[in-house]
């Protein structure tokens, strides 16, 4: 008499809260999700194949377009991998290293701000969206001041940086950094202790530490489950080993813990920026590029190198045949792609409204998932 009628709903690719062109085929019983199947590939541009057909420096702008809300870290991962392949990691001038750290930490903050804005508006809180964009705008202004671009920065080169910092840039960063701590407090005052926010996030999409490791989840989703793993600490690159910062970890591995982790990460990034400013001021102006030949032709070999992008472990795997200026093969390990695979398991048994929160909490960017 009471037979179950499953309904199949296409959640996306055009839907307000799929953060791009993710399509999830939902099997629902009433509002409860029986099965969620993410379909990806709507934004596939063949970036990896493109890399095989252009010289290494030409690839850098294409890395911008993968995780398009965090292009500085994409640049960083790529140039570091090529540098590792060429064996010039040690030759990068200190000023360039610090500039890279500063840009990627600013990028981390801006990416987390965008995540918070969209995550909050998905759950129905409208105001944090505008608050976050207010600060993100300032970061984008800083980027614009440095390299002329706001989103697709193309701000790093193999062997160093393209340009030195503009005269007042560090002062502008200092101004931003001083105010940003209060801004994070402001977001938290709207959400952290809000009962409805807690109801919507506590206990939603729990990932156990073991599962998280088995799935290969990295970044805030992994740390939210209580695993202390941050590549900035585990395999320090650039000058992270001499900078002080804490790794925030959660306890329960639910959406709320991941939220707390990211909020804390923004504070930590802010702290790193604060430490960097005097260090950069102490380095000689103009010393931003290692002395390498203009033509990048790495020796034969293969290398995998990964960095901590805002979303997790961003890895590049490059094979060079030693003869051409192109990579023989370049594979990207995007954190969003790997983290997204946990979605069906996280969503099962929850309600449709939770799916929206879950897509928000794993913080995917489809440009990176599909490449």
């Amino acid at each position: 008499m009471f037979d179950v009628h499953e309904m199949e709903v296409n959640f996306g690719p055009q839907h307000p809260s799929t953060h791009g062109v993710l399509r999830v085929i939902l099997k629902i019983d009433g509002e409860r999700i029986i099965d969620a199947k993410p379909i990806i590939g709507y934004l596939h541009r063949g970036t990896e194949k493109l890399f095989e057909n252009m010289s290494y420096p030409m690839c850098i702008p294409h890395t911008d377009r993968m995780d398009y809300v965090a292009s500085a870290t994409n640049n960083l991962g790529f140039v570091e991998t090529v540098e590792k392949l060429m064996g010039i990691t040690k030759q990068i001038p200190r000023r360039a290293q610090l500039m890279r750290v500063m840009l990627s930490e600013l990028q981390r903050i801006s990416s987390h701000l965008l995540w918070l804005a969209t995550h909050a508006i998905d759950i129905g809180a409208m105001t944090p969206f505008f608050y976050c964009f207010r600060e993100r705008e300032q970061i984008l202004d800083l980027f614009e001041e440095y390299c002329g671009a706001r989103l697709t920065l193309n701000c790093m080169r193999i062997g160093g940086m393209p340009d030195d910092l503009p005269p007042d840039w560090l002062d502008d960063v200092e101004k931003f950094v001083d105010k940003f701590e209060d801004a994070v407090d402001e977001y938290e005052s709207l959400l952290t202790n809000n009962r409805i926010w807690k109801k919507r996030t506590v206990g939603i999409g729990v990932i156990s530490p073991e599962d998280a490791i088995d799935w290969g989840i990295t970044g805030p989703p992994l740390r939210g489950s209580g695993v202390e793993w941050d590549l900035r600490r585990a395999q320090p690159y650039e000058c992270y080993s001499e900078l002080k910062f804490d790794i925030p970890i959660g306890k329960n591995g639910d959406t709320y813990d991941r939220y707390l982790c990211r909020m804390e990460e923004m504070r930590q990034s802010n702290w790193i920026l604060k430490q960097c400013i005097p260090l950069v001021k102490a380095t000689p102006v103009g010393d931003i590029k290692a002395k390498i030949s203009k033509v990048v032709r790495p020796p034969e070999g293969e290398v995998y190198h990964s960095i901590e992008s805002p979303k997790g472990e961003l890895g590049y795997y490059i094979i060079s045949d030693g003869k051409s200026q192109n990579a023989y093969r370049c594979h990207v390990r995007p954190p969003s792609f790997v983290n997204l695979q946990a979605l069906p398991a996280m969503a099962k048994g929850h309600l449709v409204s939770d799916l929206v929160a879950l897509i928000g909490t794993i913080d995917i960017v489809l440009g990176e998932v599909d490449r």
Partner: protein, 389 residues
């Protein structure tokens, strides 16, 4: 013209039309007010340009521009929709939303009351609860899964919150002993605003009226991030505007009820002192207009509260919404009825004024809540930090 005709047909019609026009102007203006106020709260500007060419300040011409846009947009009817129901959908909620305006007393009677019905409150409740049919019909007829879910959510939400909505009024009825809104308002002017003796009822009423109007944090039927736009996903142009109109009209109705039931309507008096109905009527037509202005001001304050809520709260999940309604609101409303009844009966038995006791209790609750809100609290617990050894 025969006197009964004037009295029972012409005058009510004229008064209804005047009230209707004023309310519709407020509805249109609400659009602008809401966007500007949200802009103010969210560190942005809101519409501030339209009308600059004609010397109209602050983007006020947005109030006219929006309806013009709605009329001029293409009216798209999905080919697979159920046509009759699809057309009925936006119209049905409008009828009760407009009809109710002839039952609400805007100022001192008889001039500012369109029709004086002695069971006005019941009639209003009966009419407003039919508004949901249009939403369900529209959601179902669109032949869109998201719309259907929106419509069903709306139905369940209306059924659940109609109960505490109705129950919260019972306490007021027991105190005032009448279904007549005019009588209830006069009673408050000669005693005290029902807010104090019926604090819990007022709170339940506030929550339930938010839920009835599908406003944040209960805006699940339209939840734009989950259901695209819910029941009105497939509606465009004037049909969509009808849904909007109905929603804002019923928001105003609920605010009017809130003001009439708990905040003394058009009067500004306590224990018979101040601007009571008698005083206002003594001032002639000026007093009447003053009363109506007081009423509208109070109503607008509650309308602004809706906007404030919208800027503050995230959205509930569906099961949590039901939880709140059935497990908290209804028992609380029933308890309120029981306590009110007992106190009123005891008052009659032992000759003391029941509502004084209840008022003191209400004031105590307000004081305690303020204390809880304002006391210094421990800082937020952040995620555990792992420092480098």
């Amino acid at each position: 013209m025969p006197e009964p005709l004037m009295r029972y047909l012409i005058w009510p019609l004229v008064k209804f039309l005047v009230a209707f026009v004023i309310v519709q102007v407020i509805v249109a203006a609400m659009n602008w007010i809401e966007r500007r106020l949200l802009g103010l709260m969210q560190a942005r500007l809101g519409p501030n340009r339209v009308g600059k060419e004609f010397g109209i300040p602050w983007g006020l011409a947005q109030i006219i521009a929006d309806p013009i846009k709605f009329i001029l947009k293409e009216d798209i009817v999905p080919s697979s929709s159920e046509k009759v129901a699809y057309f009925l959908g936006p119209m049905l909620p409008l009828i009760p939303a407009f009809l109710v305006f002839c039952l609400i007393p805007y100022g001192p009677p008889p001039t500012f009351v369109v029709t004086h019905v002695n069971v006005g409150l019941l009639l209003i409740l009966a009419l407003t609860s039919t508004g949901v049919y249009g939403i369900i019909l529209g959601g179902w007829a669109s032949n869109n899964k998201y719309s259907l879910m929106g419509g069903l959510r709306s139905a369940a939400q209306m059924v659940s919150y109609e109960v505490p909505f109705g129950l919260s009024i019972v306490g007021v009825l027991m105190l005032c002993g009448s279904f007549d809104l005019v009588h209830i308002i006069n009673y408050q002017a000669s005693h005290i605003w029902n807010l104090f003796p019926q604090l819990i009822a007022a709170f339940i009423f506030l929550v339930a009226m938010n839920a009835e109007n599908n406003r944040t944090p209960f805006d699940l039927p339209e939840a734009e991030s989950e259901l695209v736009a819910g029941y009105h996903t497939e509606y465009s142009a004037m049909k969509f505007a009808f849904f909007m109109l109905a929603e804002y009209s019923s928001m105003i109705v609920n605010c009017c009820l809130m003001v009439s039931l708990f905040f003394g309507g058009w009067t500004l008096a306590i224990n018979g002192y101040g601007l009571t109905t008698g005083v206002l009527r003594g001032m002639g037509i000026a007093g009447g207009i003053l009363g109506a202005l007081i009423f509208i001001t109070k109503v607008m304050l509650f309308m602004l509260m809706y906007i404030w809520f919208r800027a503050t709260f995230p959205r509930f999940r569906f099961d949590q919404l039901m939880d709140l309604g059935w497990k908290w609101m209804i028992p609380l409303a029933l308890a309120n009825i029981a306590v009110t009844g007992i106190v009123v009966l005891l008052g009659q038995q032992f000759n003391f004024q029941g509502e004084v006791v209840l008022s003191i209790a209400g004031a105590a609750i307000i004081a305690f809540t303020l204390f809880l809100l304002l006391r210094p609290r421990a800082k937020v617990i952040h995620a555990r930090r792992v420092s480098e050894a």
